[in-house]
Symmetry: C2
C-alpha cells in the first residue's frame, strides 16, 4: 500500500479514536467510584490516572471488534472501561520508584508523585479489581478468563517481569520480542478477543482477530521505539543513544532504524492478511493498523 | 456457652482446618504456575508467599459453606485457591516498604525482603489476576462480581487505605470498626457468600451467612489485637503499650482488654444467632466461630 493510502486510512482511524475517546470517558465517569465516597483520596487518585489522557486504543479496539461481529447492547461498555482500567493499573505500578521510577507521564506527575507511593500501589490494585468487577457484569465467564490469562504471568505481567530483569543487560532480539509480545501485545490481543467473544463470534474468527492483535501490538511497540529515537534527535535535540545509555534495549538499538521500519511494515502486512481472510467489514481495524504504523506521537 | 463447650467446639474446628489445609495446599500446587516456567523468579516468589504457612481460614470457610448448602463437584477448588491467593496478594502489598514496611511475616522474610520490591509488587498483582482467572473457571459471573466488590474500594482495599491514612493519628472506635469490617471481615464475608452462591443457596441464606461472616470477621481482628497485647506482656515480655507507640489504634487501646474480650464474645454470639436461624447443618461454621474467639495464636 502506498504512503498516501496509508495516511488516508490513518486519518479515518484518528477520527474514530477521537469519537470513541469522548464516549469512553463518559463511560469511565460512570464506572469509576466518585471522589465523594470513602476512601475519597484513593478514588481521586484512580480518577487522576484514568483521566490523564491517552489514545483510548484498547476501548476502541474492543468496541470496534464487538460491532464488527454484530454485537449489540450495553455490555461492551463494561469491557471498554475494564480494558482501560487494566492498562492504567499497569502504568501506575510500572512507574513506581521500585520499578521504572518515572516522575512524569504524558506531561503530568505520575500517580505516586502526586499521591504518594502507598496510594499509588492501592490505586493500581483497586483499578485491577474494579476492572474484573465490571467484566463480571458482562456475564461472560469466558471473556473474563481470556482477559485474566492475557494479563497474568503468561501475558502482560510476564512481559513486565522479564523487562525488569533485563534492565541494564545486553539482550537478544528474541528476548525483546518476548517482552513486547507480552508487555504490550497481550492486552491488545485481549481487547480484540473480548470484543469477538462478547459478540459470540465463532472460535476460528476469535483466533484470527487474536493474530491480528499480536501483529499490531508488536508493531505499536516497534513504532514507539522508533518515535523515541526520531523525536529525540530531530525534535528534542537529545542524543539518539540515550535509550542505550539507560540500559534499555529497543528495536532500533538492536536492528537499526531502517530495519525497524521494515519490521513495523511487515507486522502491518501480517495484520492485514488476517483481516483479508474475514468476511466481516474490517474497515475500522484496517485503519487502526495503518494509524499504528504511521502515527507521529 | 461455657468455656469448656467453646474449647470442645474449637478443637473440632482445629481438626477441620488442619484437614482442609492439607487438601488446599495440594490444590494450590496445581493452580500456581510452576517455577520451571518463565518468568521463573516471579513464579518462585508467588509460591514462596503462598506456601509460607497460615491457617487457610478462607479456603476452609468457602468449602464448608459450599458443602453445608449441598454443593457438589470440583469447582469449589478454584474458589479455595482464589481466596487464599487474594489474601496473600493483600499481605504482600501491605508488607511493602511504602506501606507497613514489615521485614518478617510468620517468622520468614517478607516477599520484598526475599525477592526485592519490584518482584513483590508484581507477585501481588499476579496472584490477584490468577485468582480472578481461577474464579472465572467456576463459570459463575455472579460469584466473581461479589468477590470483586468485597475486595475493592468499598471492601478490603478501602479498609487498607483508611488504615494507611490513619497511621499515627488518634482515631475513634467507629473508624477502627470501619477499617476492620473492610480490611479483615470483607474477604471472610466473600468466602462465605461465594461458597453459598456456588452451591445455589437462596438469596436470603446468602445474606444470613454474610452477616455471620461480618461478625466472625470483626471478632477475628478483635482477638488478634488482644493476642498482640497478651503475648507481648505475658509471653514475649515486651511492653504492652508498643502498639500505641507505633501509632496503631487497636481494640484494647481504645476499649481496654476486658471490654475487648466482651466485644469478641458479643460478636461470637451475633454470629451464632445467624447460624441458629438456618435449617442446614451448621456444625463446622459454629466450631470455626468458637475457634476464632478462643484461639491462642
Amino acid at each position: 500500500m502506498s504512503k498516501q493510502n496509508l495516511d488516508q486510512e490513518s486519518a479515518f482511524a484518528i477520527e474514530y479514536l477521537s469519537k470513541v475517546s469522548k464516549e469512553a470517558e463518559k463511560i469511565f465517569e460512570e464506572h469509576l467510584p466518585p471522589v465523594a465516597d470513602v476512601p475519597n483520596r484513593l478514588h481521586e487518585s484512580m480518577r487522576y490516572s484514568m483521566f490523564a489522557g491517552g489514545k483510548r486504543l484498547r476501548p476502541a479496539l474492543v468496541k470496534a471488534t464487538f460491532e464488527m461481529f454484530g454485537g449489540k447492547g450495553d455490555k461492551i461498555k463494561y469491557a471498554m472501561s475494564a480494558l482501560e482500567m487494566l492498562h492504567t493499573f499497569s502504568l501506575i505500578h510500572d512507574d513506581l520508584p521500585c520499578i521504572d521510577n518515572d516522575d512524569f507521564r504524558r506531561g503530568k506527575p505520575t500517580n505516586h508523585k502526586q499521591f504518594g507511593e502507598a496510594t499509588a500501589v492501592m490505586a493500581g490494585d483497586a483499578l485491577c479489581i474494579r476492572a474484573f468487577e465490571l467484566m463480571a457484569k458482562t456475564g461472560s465467564a469466558r471473556a473474563l478468563e481470556v482477559l485474566a490469562n492475557k494479563l497474568g504471568t503468561y501475558g502482560m505481567i510476564g512481559g513486565e517481569m522479564i523487562d525488569i530483569e533485563c534492565e541494564g543487560k545486553s539482550v537478544s532480539l528474541d528476548t525483546v520480542d518476548y517482552i513486547h509480545y507480552h508487555k504490550t501485545a497481550a492486552l491488545i490481543e485481549a481487547s480484540l478477543c473480548i470484543g469477538a467473544i462478547l459478540a459470540d463470534a465463532p472460535e476460528d474468527k476469535v483466533k484470527a482477530i487474536e493474530r491480528y492483535g499480536k501483529a499490531i501490538g508488536l508493531a505499536f511497540q516497534v513504532v514507539d521505539d522508533i518515535l523515541d529515537i526520531v523525536s529525540t534527535t530531530e525534535q528534542l535535540g537529545k542524543d539518539a543513544g540515550s535509550d542505550i545509555e539507560r540500559g534499555k534495549a529497543t528495536y532500533p538499538s538492536i536492528l537499526g532504524l531502517e530495519e525497524s521500519r521494515k519490521r513495523a511494515l511487515a507486522l502491518y502486512e501480517e495484520s492485514i492478511k488476517e483481516l483479508d481472510a474475514l468476511s466481516e467489514d474490517t474497515k475500522v481495524l484496517r485503519s487502526i493498523a495503518a494509524f499504528i504504523i504511521t502515527r507521529v506521537n
